[in-house]
Amino acid sequence: MSGVIGIDLGGTKCHGALGDAAGAVLAEFRTGTDVPGGAGEVLTLVWRRLRREAEDRGIDVRHATVGIPAVFDPVTGQASQGTNIGWEGFDVAAVVETFEVPVLVENDANLAGLAEATAGNAVGVPDFVLLSLGTGFGGALFAGGELVRGARGAAAEFGEMLLADPEGGLVRAEDRVSGLALRDDARKLVTGDAGAAAELGEVPTAQTVIAGAVRGERHARLLVEEMLDALALVVVNICATTDPRLVVLDGGMGRALAPFTGALASRVAGLGVSSPRVAVSSLYPNATISGALQQSVRYVERCVSKANLL
């Protein structure tokens, strides 16, 4: 029996899945990227682990797809603009060449968008954007049913958008809206504010802050609302530029923000020229892995149908 592997190499964790010939998930493996050797090391680790799972099941892995939180330059084989994690110049191609099967490397948000378009919220919605909110902030733009990559593959890199800073000047969207930004804002708050520290704990994370906001706790709520204000500005920029019908949130933080989609939509409606629907991805285990498995399944199917013709 044949199978495929899809891997989401993120800023803080690497999450992969083994899929059967149709892409249905058979096994998953997830680990942090905070190890000596960094992203390349972890990617290889997840690949080997899933390869073992495949062998145990007697599955012949035919293809793998790896999503990365950066722009992948197919000419150099290198990643660029992965701002969080020292990705600039990370030689992904050199790592995946050791995998012994054909591997597709693609921007993580583009994979997520392709999955949403064919099996998720965006089925039948040709004009939509996907916001990939995790450690960092990336995205994908679909216009008339087609993925827009832009002139240098940097379209929909929403984290690079510049926003007006309430304290004056301009700030990168990713520095206001991302898991890292939320964590840093919370940690800055607790060092100077005993009340905030009592509520949020000494070392808050993005997850604990969002969970606190969902419970209605004051400081957590303020932090999340500030982030939603900035996120609404990003969405308005996107709407004024491309007028999408739907905004899909994905990524660890994007999914955690599910209780706040209404709050985001009403902020956008108060600012914008057109108001899109806001939805959270429901693809399992996440839209990037789902898209990665799907791309690999397609590759294998194409090879099979070609073999039948010959």
């Binding site: 603009q81 040709p126 004009d127 733009l141 216009a143 008339g144 087609e146 827009v148 990559r149 832009g150 002139a151 240098r152 593959g153 940097a154 379209a155 929909a156 890199e157 929403f158 690079e160 958008m161 510049l162 926003l163 007006a164 301009l170 969207a173 500005l233 308005v236 920029n237 996107i238 709407c239 004024a240 530029t241 491309t242 007028d243 999408p244 019908r245 600012l271 914008g272 020229v273 057109s274 899109p276």
Partner: protein
């Protein structure tokens, strides 16, 4: 071997497909012989001859000349009969209304511009009709020889409600029944499209955006707007509101009055009235943005300062757009935007402050014809579709100017 098309395609469909293929080659390459066309298209010579004869009968192609002095028989060259039908292009702006009549090669054969002094939409529509007839008259044609017209206007056309939205600069333009009124007044099929989208199409077909798959046209004049080409095609968004960048949030303080809300933050700051406001605040007694740019060109320090601030604003706007679309090129146009020579340094220095990866910026070279040329490009593709639809349905029009009239 029998192919699928033998079973599926009717002989008429195949014939019309061949005709269109040949016609496209003649449009792109100019006059060609039957042998040339057979070689380029891969069709057999008898097929080419039959298709050309059919189109010649209908007046779409004609014998353009003969190549002499070569061994063998005389070679006849065929060409498109550009005057077989005409199309109309209309550009409705706050200050000017422009109308052009073009032939099937897209060449203007008549053009008439007039001041827009209309106080309501009825006024405006009748002014368009007068100019349309004058433009046709200039070409020695009755307006009825026009088979389809494309109208560019500020705002977003809501087809279901038959009205414009986001067109606060034109009086009465947001009322319903607009398309119907234009169709009745012009007596032809009319398509309404956002003027800036048409300007982007014009750049794609005839200007700086020719052959570029990802670019944006940014127009800064009375208003602010953007037309987008992605993956090689005009993109207008889910509801036609893509490129309505006048509503981008502005990174500097703006008076939050009703007028600002109606026009959008960015438009209030960056469009011509914003430039005049800034000039007055700087102590310059000038009434138009054009005067401000003229003063800057003459070296007036206060005017230069205003222009520099405007350039920085435009630079910021382009960066905001680039983070979404990553265009290869941005074409600047409009009464304010076309002054790239004066604005360029400020735009570039703003880019340098904001990051490394920024698009190339050029000024449009199409002058005040950008919207008209986009309307021509759009109308031509509609006209050719219509002509070949008619041929496929078996209608064989006689040779006359009005043979390809479109039903409304």
């Amino acid at each position: 071997m029998r192919t699928r098309s033998d079973q599926l395609g009717s002989p008429r469909l195949l014939r019309v497909m061949n005709e269109r293929l040949l016609l496209d080659h003649l449009l792109v390459r100019g006059p060609a012989s039957r042998a040339d066309l057979a070689k380029i298209t891969g069709l057999s010579k008898p097929t080419v001859s039959a298709a050309l004869a059919g189109m010649e009968d209908s007046g779409l192609v004609h014998l353009a000349g003969e190549v002499l002095g070569r061994p063998g028989p005389v070679t006849s060259l065929y060409d498109v009969t550009a005057g077989a039908a005409h199309i109309g292009a209309v550009d409705i702006g706050r200050d000017w209304i422009r109308v052009a009549v073009a032939d099937l090669r897209g060449r203007f054969v008549g053009r008439k511009d007039g001041r827009n002094a209309a106080k309501n939409s009825e006024d405006l529509v009748s002014r368009v009709r007068e100019l349309a007839q004058a433009a046709a008259g200039q070409a020695g044609l009755p307006w009825t020889s026009v088979i389809t017209a494309v109208v560019g206007s500020p705002g977003v056309y809501d087809k279901d409600a038959d009205r414009m939205i986001f067109a606060p600069n034109l009086p009465g333009w947001e009322g319903s029944g607009l398309g119907d009124r234009l169709r009745t007044a012009l007596g032809v099929d009319v398509t309404i499209e956002n003027d800036i989208n048409l300007a982007a199409l014009g750049e794609h077909a005839y200007g700086a955006g020719h052959g570029i798959a990802n670019f944006a046209l940014v127009s800064i004049g009375t208003g602010v707007g953007m037309g987008i080409v992605v993956n090689g095609e005009l993109y207008v968004g889910a509801r036609g509101a893509a490129g309505e960048v006048s509503f981008l949030p502005a990174p500097e303080p703006v008076p939050a009055d009703d007028d600002t809300l109606r026009h959008g933050l960015t438009e209030s700051l960056a469009a011509a009235p914003g430039v005049v406001r800034a000039a007055r605040a700087a102590g310059l007694h000038l009434d138009t943005a054009k005067e401000v740019f003229t003063a800057a060109a003459e070296g007036d320090p206060a005017a230069l300062e205003v222009v520099h601030a405007e350039g920085r604003r435009i630079g910021g706007l382009i960066v905001a757009v680039a983070s979404v679309l990553d265009p290869e090129l941005v074409v600047l146009t409009g009464g304010v935007g076309h002054n790239l020579a004066l604005l360029g340094d400020a735009i570039t220095s703003r880019f340098a402050e904001l990051g490394p990866l920024r698009p190339r910026v050029v000024a449009s070279t199409l002058g005040d014809s950008g919207v008209l040329l986009g309307a021509v490009a759009r109308a031509l593709s509609q006209a050719w579709d219509h002509i070949f639809d008619l041929r496929q349905s078996g209608v064989q029009p006689r040779q006359s100017g009005v043979q390809y009239g479109m039903s409304r």
